[in-house]
Structures are given as C-alpha cells and as structure tokens.
C-alpha cells in the first residue's frame, strides 16, 4: 500500500488533523484529497455518486408522472400480490426480494472482512453466496416481469389505471436489475481471482495490468451495497407509496 501519511524527521507518521481542520487540510493538500483511501475506492465512490443522480432522475420523473396523471394510479399492493395456498398475500414477492438483497449485502460485508484477513476460501465462498443471492433476485424479477407482461402491462398502458405505471416500472426496475446482473458477473470474476490467490501474489489483473490487492473486494462490495441501497429507495417509493 502506498504511503499516505507525511513523516516526521524521525520517520514517525505525522497524525492527520481531524474535524473541519482535517477537511481543509485534506482538500488543500498536495497530490491527493482522499487520504487513507486507495484511488480505486475513491473512484468507485465517485461513480456511485453519479449513479445516485441517475436513479434520482428516474425516481423524480416517476414522481412527476404520478402527480400529474388524472387517472388513478394502479395499487402496487394488489398488482404485486401473489396467491399462495389460496390466499392473496399483498406485495409478498417484493418483500422476499428485499430480504434476499439484504442478505446478499450481509454476506458481502463479511466477504470484505475475510478478504482483509487474507482468508481466501471464506472470502470466495461468501462472494459466491452473494452472487447466488443476486442471481436469485434477478430470477424473481424475471418472474415478476413475466407475470405482469402476461397480465397486459406495457410501457404505454395497463388494465388498472394510469399508463405511466408501466413505463416507470419497466424503466426503474429494469435499470436496477441490470445493475444487479452486472454486480453478479463482477462478483463471480473477483471470487475466481480470490480463489486463485491472485491477490496474495499481487498478480497483475486483466485489462489494466494493475497489481491485484484485497482492496478490490471492498470496492466490489461498495458497488454491491449500492445496488441494495437503490433497492431500499425503489421498494419504499415505488412499491410501498
């Protein structure tokens, strides 16, 4: 890991200032504003910030079309209900998907932890478990889409009310599902690298030739938790509202 702190003349690390002084010192310092953070992690955070704006745009456009429609909005509680054992349970599929995604975040957080402990087997196993949860989520979403399309939901109309329901639904959940799918692929690639010991031996990665370290597990984790985070907002604002 690169030296990120200044040294005194005796070679001891100079403590970084905290609080507001720390912010001013970090931002006005030479070379790098984000101390103690590898650049890959800072870049992932900045990417996630831009992604936050993309999803915000989707959710805000959904809000404006829902406010401005003069036709009643379809009731998501009924639209996403499933009949299990003869009784109709509202929104149950979405609730299960929520719990699956939260669980995947839990296994991911632990994978990051075991990664820094250089426990290859546990890290890879937990990352693959995360990927499996993610794939299950996407599978359930495919089921949900199929069900709705068979019931006649289209981006331009649906049997229950405001036509904007379909376009908002497919756009928002589709974009989120795409993020989950990319995350699953990313996780499988990184788990394979962990298993091979690519990070123990600082083996250069594909495409970039950068030396691999366990920080990439945390960076992958940041992306994955973000996908879960977006789902928290979609669940609340689209499905529960």
């Amino acid at each position: 890991m690169a030296q990120t702190t200044a040294l005194t003349h005796t070679g001891e690390a100079l403590a970084l200032p905290e609080g507001w002084q720390g912010i001013v010192a970090d931002w006005s310092s030479d070379q790098r504003a984000f101390k103690n953070v590898p650049w890959g992690k800072a870049m992932m955070w900045i990417f996630l910030l831009s992604d936050t704006f993309i999803f915000s745009c989707f959710l805000i456009s959904y809000m404006t079309v829902r406010i401005s429609t003069t036709v009643p909005w379809p009731n998501p509680s009924k639209v996403f209900a499933l009949t299990i054992g003869g009784t109709e349970i509202p929104l149950i599929l979405i609730a299960i998907m929520t719990f699956i995604l939260i669980s995947s975040s839990g296994t991911m957080a632990m994978a990051v932890n075991f990664g820094y402990r250089r426990d290859r087997i546990k890290t890879a196993a937990l990352m693959l478990a995360t990927a499996a949860f993610g794939a299950t989520f996407v599978g359930m979403q495919a089921f949900e889409w199929t069900k709705l399309i068979l019931e006649g939901v289209r981006p331009w109309g649906n049997p229950w009310g405001a036509p904007q329901f379909g376009s908002s639904f497919f756009m928002i959940t589709g974009f989120h599902g795409f993020h989950v799918s990319v995350g699953v692929i990313f996780l499988i690639i990184m788990a394979t690298k962990v298993l091979r010991g690519a990070f123990d031996h600082n083996r250069p990665g594909f495409l970039t030739g950068r030396k691999g370290t366990y920080e990439i597990v945390e960076i992958t984790g940041l992306y994955w938790h973000f996908v879960d985070l977006v789902w928290v907002f979609i669940f609340a604002l689209f499905y529960l509202w």
């Binding site: 912010i23 504003a33 406010i67 509680s77 509202p90 820094y116 945390e218």
Partner: protein, 107 residues
C-alpha cells in the same frame, strides 16, 4: 505502529446491522400489510427507508470510518437532489392542474 490494512471491524457489527435491516424491512412491509394510510403511511415509509439507507452507507459501506473529506464529498452532493425533487413536484402539480382545467371534458 502496526500496519493496518483497509477497513477491519468485528464480524459482530455486520450481523447486528443485518438483523436491524431485517427488522426495518419487516416493519415497512407491515405498513403495507396493515393498510396504514395517509400521512402516517408516507412518514413511516420515508423514515424506515432513510434508516435502512443510513445503516447500509454507514456500516456496510464503511462511511462511518472514512475521513470527513471523503464523507462530505460523497454525502453532500445528493442533497441537491432535494432541489430537483421540489422542482419536479411543482411541475407535476402544474401539469395536473392544466390537465384538469383543459382536458377534463375529454376524460
């Protein structure tokens, strides 16, 4: 000084947050299940949503342990979304009003 590599925290804290996220998600599902309506419904949904988001960002994404420079760089810009949200709500209300005013006969 011992060489500290990356973010190291006891596993226990992740399990606790995992448990809390389950509790909060169950609570938001129950809001729908028991048909809570009106302002109580909306405020419950938003509060539970923000609590969950806060826990994920703070602990799972380790923001709690990052330096303030990174924290502010990432967490302050999304506040601007609130401005956009306000503009969107204003615009939506206006469109709704004009639709009622000029197209109501055609419905």
């Amino acid at each position: 000084m011992a060489h500290v590599e990356g973010q190291q925290h006891p596993i226990k804290i992740y399990l606790q947050i995992w448990g809390w996220l389950f509790v909060l998600s169950t609570a938001s599902y129950l809001v729908d299940y028991f048909h809570v309506q009106g302002y109580l419904r909306w405020s419950l949904i938003v509060v539970l949503m923000l609590l969950k988001a806060g826990l994920i960002v703070a602990v799972f994404m380790h923001m709690l342990w990052e330096r303030l420079a990174l924290m502010y760089a990432i967490l302050v810009p999304p506040v601007l979304v609130l401005v956009f949200l306000g503009i969107g709500a204003f615009e939506g209300d206006y469109t709704f009003f004009t639709r009622l005013k000029f197209f109501a006969a055609g419905l």
